[in-house]
Symmetry: C2
Subunit: 335 residues, 2 copies
DNA sequence: TTATTATTTCGGAATAATCCAAAATGCACC
DNA sequence: GGTGCATTTTGGATTATTCCGAAATAATAA
């Protein structure tokens, strides 16, 4: 009933477990005949090596933990796939945790990944995360951590981000150049660096083109669709409503489009909409959503590359780096 | 530099490692004073227990593997979240593997999960999978396996499926009742049981309403969007083109809608379209997609429940079961 | 045959934790 | 102080594997 072990093989063949171990691991110091006998019996007994025992001994699991706040929208799954492809090539396995945007679940997940001794971590944190001690647990033991999208601004970790500032700047520039003057911005929580960068891009574009900044048109919210709905309705009810809307992400923009349509307003004639991320839905809805595209699977691949660089380095701390990837404005019918 | 262990704590406190172990695990046979001293030092040294060592000893990892063919579309992530919620309540962790619809990657993933000694498996296999030996490795060692959506028709494993037959029957019944006579069906590979069930529902509905079955209107394909595009174009180019299209899933239906629109045909006047799954995009596109909804996170929860039942049973084999969940037709503008 | 070298095998240590029987300690009572 | 009992602690075994120095065996040369 129990799993066969190398000791079972050794006993049945009348040899020592060390010899079996070497035969099974392509070690040179073993007679070819012995190796054949071991391999045959292993096959016959359906022997499967116990990775737990090896990991305990070598103190490396060849497993990378990936932590994301959610994976319903296309963004995080796509990043994960990119990272996984790259890591698999290097012989690493991947375990995925999602926190459902809950700080507490994130902390629990981090603890659990630490206890199971992952060799490294790729993270995008929750919107609630303000305290990063649960990641410091890793860096303190020299376990490399790479952040992407939502990043911990610490020099203990590598980061992969897109050029949020320029992406936002170009989006707003496009709106100004197509004649918009009252451009509202649905922004994320100020605690998220990418949210701040996008907001700065928005502000600088307005200033550069000498469009007056109206604080009542800038709304930071919690990224839930319910709140998005409420705030878009609020904006459209203003005495001087906006003639354009630039949102922190595509799901928000898509929700906005539903609200605008429901109010009988035309897109883009009455209100133009621009999102951020190029969610596949953007191309399918009517009108198509103008959006700032980011190289999603490249983000995952770069994050994996950063991590592998640190894992393979003799001095991992020296390999800490920040990668900034370009964005690209895709103009569709909504603007 | 190295991780503190219970032996470090024991040495520093001048007590035995067994006592430290008991103090740390809320075991009764330990003096309250000793426990306090141990807990304090553990905190101070930032001690984290090594789950690998415990798993090796107890031969259980409290980890469940989830294997899916992809997770870009909303379906699999949603199932995973449902399962994860249920498993977390019971104190289990989850590791997720995706095979990208590749049989070979699926086999590799199964091996890797086995080597890391997961306590159970939740699986939806690839469209290529014909041989299930890599799952038999688990059942042979009494490690419970639950399939969902795409299931291995074996009495060694539990299964969670929706009533594909009735869902498809009702979809086609709806099309007949709204006056359609030439209803095409884009079906999946015959090797997938859910694909066959949906096709049978389609056929029986036609027969029941005495609508002639035209084999040239039934196309089994490989579920890629490129092929979907080609086959929809092919159907629309027939001398007697279909006046309705029932597809195996929503992504296919959405692709079909793009093709039909591009050809200048009207939906639903010229061609009605019905999908399967109620992907969130379905409600957002123009026209809204009529579709057969399935209780997605309930599938995940039920799969987790099946697995937990087997894990907690003294005789896991007796707990093997099949759960069938109901579907519900959602009528929107496309029909 | 014997010495030398190369190849192959062996047995124990190590990894970090839990568990259990046995030993030690503490305390009350006579 | 000794006895009995409860509480607490100890040391060694256990889990599956790798690694390493030592030992055994085989092959080669003198």
């Amino acid at each position: 009933m129990h799993q066969p072990t190398i000791i079972d093989i050794a006993r049945q063949l009348g040899i020592s477990k060390s010899t079996v171990s070497r035969a099974l691991t392509a070690h040179p110091n073993v007679n070819e005949k012995t190796r054949q006998r071991v391999l045959e019996l292993a096959e016959k007994l359906d022997y499967q090596r116990n990775q737990l025992a090896i990991s305990l001994l070598t103190n490396q699991t060849r497993t990378i933990g990936i932590m994301v706040p959610e994976f319903i929208s296309f963004f995080f799954p796509k990043v994960i796939i990119g990272a996984q492809e790259e890591l698999a090539k290097a012989g690493y396995n991947v375990v995925i945790c999602h926190s459902n945007e809950s700080y507490e679940i994130e902390v629990t997940n981090a603890r659990s990944l630490f206890a199971s001794r992952v060799d490294g971590l790729i993270v995008s944190h929750t919107k609630e995360t303000r305290n990063f001690d649960h990641f410091r647990t890793f860096t303190r033991k020299s376990i490399p951590v790479v952040f992407f999208n939502r990043v911990w601004e610490s020099d203990e970790v590598s980061k992969v981000v897109v050029d949020d500032y320029t992406g936002a700047y170009q989006a707003v520039e496009h709106l100004v150049q197509t004649g918009r003057r009252r451009i509202a911005h649905l922004s994320g929580p100020d605690s998220l660096p990418n949210s701040r960068s996008r907001q700065n891009g928005y502000l600088d574009a307005l200033r550069h083109y000498e469009v007056p900044v109206d604080p009542s048109l800038i709304i930071s919210y919690d990224l839930t669709l319910e709140k998005a709905n409420i705030y878009v309705n609020h904006l459209l009810s203003l005495p001087e409503p906006p003639d354009a809307l630039f949102t922190i992400n595509d799901p928000t923009a898509i929700e906005a489009i539903q609200v605008i349509k429901a109010r009988g307003l035309r897109i883009p004639q009455d209100v133009a909409v621009v999102g951020f991320s190029d969610d596949p839905i953007s191309a399918l809805i009517e009108p198509g959503l103008t959006t700032v595209a980011q190289p999603v699977d490249e983000i995952g691949r770069q994050a994996a590359a950063c991590l592998l660089a640190q894992l393979q380095a003799t001095n991992p701390v020296a390999e800490v780096q920040t990668v900034v990837l370009p964005t690209r404005l895709i103009v569709r019918g909504s603007s």
